[in-house]
């Protein structure tokens, strides 16, 4: 049967199933295949905190949302066109996200009596007349997978592990994609286990063929390659981009990277990625706790290395005192906070932007430090690189902010070459400059960095207040005030090197300015572009440098009548904007552990009442 081919500009799909169903892997494979094909993509994995929450329950549902298109894609989508539900619980959790008329592909084996009960359904929802507004495609994935592998000699349990490949095959058929990339991935992942490789590839192809020969699809869909900026691309996740940014900064500064950290969701993937790059001279150290992690970084930085640690909010709280020591010592260090829902343990696997005030102020005493925030998965590279550059060239700890959404999300990245990256020059002291005066500063208030092994530059540093020049312990009242002011001014002066703030999207001046920071970039961009298309006068200013801010932020704010600050917190940047610029900025807050939808931001621009 020849099937009709329907052209689509963009498609949003949600893969959902039990956390043991291989949903994240399925989503990632589908993403990579489409990225390689040339679509623009944005992804949003959404998984539970429990590694294996009770099977079949709503708590155990793992989701992976992606939007891919032939047009520019900046968010993973508000609502989805296609929902793939491996069981009843996954269906229950995600149905509200499906648009009317959308397609649901369900594994009917996941809707048996037991699964319905676990999901809290009295009746099978697939038989509900209310579902008539959706197109439901029922496949017994379990049965099909078992049939495909009937001669494999594998146990039923092993066989069922390949079910996700069947679904992936179905989708590859549906969107007319080649399977070579995934087949190669399977071969690499299960290297040495030929039976597993054979089984997975067989099931993948079985899914594809099933979709082709069965009558379940009357049409296939075609999403053409996107017209991205000319250049070379790869797909990248935020945490991966962060790790690569750190390695690149180490290479370009000539310093070895020392990475001390303690495992924590959602930052651990940075450690995993860096541990793979020891051939770049990267030394990773899994410390006994968060405090030891940053303490080891202080030791490494004191020794002349690029010291970096990463954590999430709870871990950053534990590191506070040591960050203060780094500020007193004035040594380069980068602290990455991959934010998650708080307070306390909060929502480990959900996203939030509620650690901005912690980044700016979460230490005892007057302890200012530069804070910069990544705007998207690929921007994590640039931001991490800049964090290292500022830390090294200005001899200061720097806070790099990311969050769960961009850390685990992915997008195509027009990556630079090594030559295109700016050089980073550590301000090392020279032996011939002895006697060394530890706190003598240059015009940017940066002191020279003398490290153990340098002859005649021996000196002692510490957390006690220090004399303005010698660094010796000083309790002198005037000296303390002078040092507090100097440390603040030193951070402020970094603004001299920052590029001026630009309007990221939309109008350069006009009625409404939407100010964002961090992972809301994509959704604000989409909302602002949509509003402008509708004839509204709206601009989008996205702050990557939060402390210090670029020098012209105030001037930009002055060009607009209204200012809105959407944040995934209870109002933090908005307080800073109001405080710094005495402007009546409006809040737009969402604190649900999930990103904004475009509609929510558009509504705020239009002053419509919606519940965020």
């Amino acid at each position: 049967m020849v099937k009709k081919v329907v052209e689509k500009q963009e498609v949003t799909i949600v893969f959902a199933g039990d956390s043991g169903d291989g949903i994240q892997l399925t989503g990632t494979q589908f993403t990579n295949t489409n990225a390689l094909f040339g679509n623009d993509i944005s992804t949003f994995p959404n998984y539970p905190a429990e590694i294996r929450a009770p099977q079949g329950t709503v708590a155990g549902v793992s989701g992976f949302q992606l939007k891919f298109g032939s047009v520019e894609v900046s968010t993973a989508g508000d609502i989805c066109d296609v929902l793939v539900a491996m069981n009843a619980a996954a269906f229950k959790v995600n149905l509200s996200q499906l648009k009317k008329g959308g397609t649901v592909i369900v594994n009917i084996d996941g809707f048996d009596k037991r699964n319905l009960k676990l999901a809290g359904y009295e009746e099978n929802p697939l038989e509900d007349v209310a579902l008539e507004s959706y197109r439901i495609i029922k496949i017994d994935v379990t049965k099909m997978t078992r049939a495909a592998l009937v001669d494999s000699g594998m146990s039923r349990k092993e066989i069922d592990l390949s079910r996700n490949m069947f679904v992936l095959g179905v989708l590859y058929y549906m969107y007319n994609r080649k399977m070579e990339g995934t087949e190669l991935f399977i071969k690499q992942k299960f290297k040495g286990k030929q039976d597993v490789i054979d089984a997975n590839i067989k099931v993948l192809r079985a899914g594809y063929n099933y979709a082709d020969t069965s009558e379940i699809f009357t049409s296939r869909y075609n999403v053409k390659a996107a017209r991205l900026k000319t250049g070379r691309y790869r797909n990248i996740m935020g945490n991966q981009a962060t790790a690569i940014g750190l390695v690149a900064a180490a290479q370009k500064s000539g310093l070895d990277l020392f990475y001390g950290s303690y495992p924590i969701t959602p930052a651990s993937d940075i450690l995993h990625e860096l541990a793979k790059h020891k051939n770049f001279g990267v030394r990773t150290f899994q410390a006994e706790d968060e405090i030891a992690a940053i303490a080891s970084v202080i030791g490494a930085s004191f020794g002349g290395k690029l010291g970096v640690t990463a954590s999430s909010g709870p871990g950053i709280a534990l590191k506070g005192e040591a960050i203060g020591l780094g500020i007193m010592l004035e040594i380069p260090m980068v602290i990455c906070n991959v934010q998650r829902g708080g307070p306390s343990t909060g929502l480990p696997t959900k996203t939030e932007q509620a650690d901005l005030m912690q980044a700016l102020h979460g230490r005892n005493g007057e302890a200012p430090m530069p804070v910069i925030a990544a705007a998207s998965p690929s921007d994590c590279f640039k931001t991490a690189y800049e964090a290292c550059q500022i830390a090294i060239e200005h001899m200061t700890p720097v806070m790099f902010l990311s969050d769960g959404y961009i850390a685990n999300g992915s997008e195509p990245w027009n990556f630079p070459t090594a030559d295109e990256l700016e050089e980073i020059i550590p301000p090392f002291a020279k032996e011939e400059d002895a006697p060394y005066i530890p706190y003598k500063r240059d015009e940017m208030l940066v002191r020279d960095w003398a490290i153990p092994g340098q002859k005649n530059l021996e000196h002692r540093l510490g957390g006690l207040e220090k004399d303005y020049l010698s660094g010796d312990v000083s309790y002198d009242p005037d000296n303390h005030q002078r040092m507090v002011k100097t440390r603040a001014e030193k951070v402020e002066k970094i603004a001299d090197r920052l590029p001026l703030q630009e309007i990221s999207n939309g109008e350069e001046s006009g009625d409404v300015l939407v100010i964002g920071w961090g992972s809301t970039y994509g959704v604000i961009k989409t909302a602002v572009q949509q509003s402008v298309k509708e004839g509204l006068s709206v601009g989008h200013m996205h702050l990557r440098y939060i402390n210090p801010m670029p020098k012209n932020v105030k001037e930009i704010i002055g060009r607009f009548k209204r200012v809105i600050v959407p944040e995934l917190n209870n109002g933090q940047l908005v307080s800073i904007i109001r405080d710094k610029f005495l402007v009546d900025a409006e809040k737009l807050n969402k604190i649900k552990g999930i990103p904004f939808t475009t509609a929510e931001i558009v509504a705020a621009i239009k002053k419509e009442e919606v519940e965020a």
Binding site: N32, A35, L36, F37, G38, G181, A225, R227, T230, G231, R232, Y233, R234, N235, I236, V247, A248, Q251, D256, F258, H277, K278, N279, G281, V282, R283, F285, A287, E288, D289, I291, A292, A295, S296, V297, I298, G299, A300, F302, G303, G304, K305, G307, E321, G324, L325, F415, P416, A418, I451, P452, G453, K455, L457, E458, R460, L461, G462, G463, D472
Partner: protein, 347 residues
């Protein structure tokens, strides 16, 4: 003397070269002075250039120490000196790293870092100044203060069971364990030199008198009339002898140490100290009786245990080299592009 030797003699550092211009601010009579002096005195002998030596401390009276050493140094934050030293040692394995800490700093707030440093066995020296009191905060009990100790925070006496620090270190798999005391400079020197020679984490507990808040805590081990009975100086390969003119000895009877008259046994029948014997070292750390208790065992001083075990920083370095051999030296362009690249436009 040849010219060469003369030049060498001139450049040879003396303890004075390791003193700084800072006024030493410990209370007059503090045991820390003696330790500072001994550490400065061994520095010219440790075969390291001054610029290759780093002293790192936490917080407490003893942690002022780095300010008085003319080497690289850091007076850090409470409890974290071992963790900071760990990062430094990983990054710069060639440096001689010394951690200065106290009983509050390393056994209370920094306890976690201490045990993990010991098991990882970085090549560094930890000098734990144990005075059984919080001095800098003016006299609260510490994790090594004996039960019943009356201090500002325990007016009716401490109800905390104290740590036996060396037993703890043994449990954390330390590769070098020793004890010395501030009032015995000669012994201190010997132990410090041994600690420096040991490749791995050298744990040296130094009994240190706080003459302001806990004066006389270790008097029984230094008092002329008592010390012979109360102390046991360990020497590798020699029997465990103590008492007046070494008239007493320790003997193992059914795997338990008992005090015997030296005269009643041949040397072979006595406990011969073997610092490489983990089981015996474990037992020696248990010689921790209250000096007021009848039938107590004497308190050992000297090197309890030495083990040659791989160092974390060397193993990590080997992994870095292995990764380079296996994967080639990292190429930044390859890292940036990854393995799945597509091109848009005419490139």
């Amino acid at each position: 003397m040849s010219l060469e030797n003369e030049a060498l003699e001139k450049t040879k550092l003396t303890p004075k070269d390791f003193a700084t211009d800072q006024d030493v601010r410990w209370c007059p009579g503090c045991g820390d002075y003696s330790i500072l002096k001994q550490v400065q005195s061994i520095m010219p002998e440790i075969d390291k250039a001054k610029e290759d030596i780093v002293f790192i401390s936490g917080i407490g009276c003893s942690s002022r120490f780095p300010y008085y050493m003319n080497t690289y140094g850091m007076h850090s934050i409470h409890g974290r000196a071992t963790a900071i030293a760990s990062g430094l040692k990983i990054s710069r394995p060639e440096l001689s790293v010394w951690v200065i800490t106290g009983d509050g700093d390393s056994l209370s707030i920094g306890g976690n870092h201490l045990i993990h440093t010991l098991r990882r066995n970085f090549d560094m020296n930890i000098l734990l100044f144990n005075n059984e009191i919080y001095g800098l905060t003016k006299g609260q009990y510490s994790p090594t203060s004996p039960e019943g100790k009356v201090t500002k925070s325990t007016p009716i006496g401490s109800i905390d069971s104290p740590f036996n620090p060396l037993k703890l270190c043994m449990g954390a798999n330390a590769s070098f364990i020793a004890r010395t005391i501030d009032r015995d400079p000669k012994h201190q020197r010997e132990v410090l030199i041994r600690a420096n020679e040991h490749v791995g984490t050298s744990m040296v507990e130094i009994y240190q008198n706080c003459n302001v808040f806990n004066d006389g805590a270790f008097e029984v081990f230094t008092d002329k009339n008592m010390k012979e009975e109360e102390t046991l100086y360990l020497e590798h390969g020699k029997p465990l002898l103590f008492g007046k003119e070494n008239n007493k000895a320790i003997r193992l009877l059914d795997c338990r140490p008992v005090i015997v008259d030296t005269a009643d046994f041949t040397t072979e029948e006595l406990w011969i100290h073997d610092e490489t014997d983990r089981f015996k070292a474990q037992m020696l750390t248990n010689f921790f009786d209250n000096p007021a208790v009848e039938g107590r065992l004497p308190r050992p001083f000297g090197v309890f245990y030495v083990e040659d075990r791989y160092r974390y920083e060397e193993a990590l370095e080997a992994q870095v080299q292995y990764a380079i051999e296996k994967g080639g030296k990292g190429d930044l362009n390859e890292l940036l592009s990854g393995h799945n690249v597509w091109t848009v436009g005419d490139e």
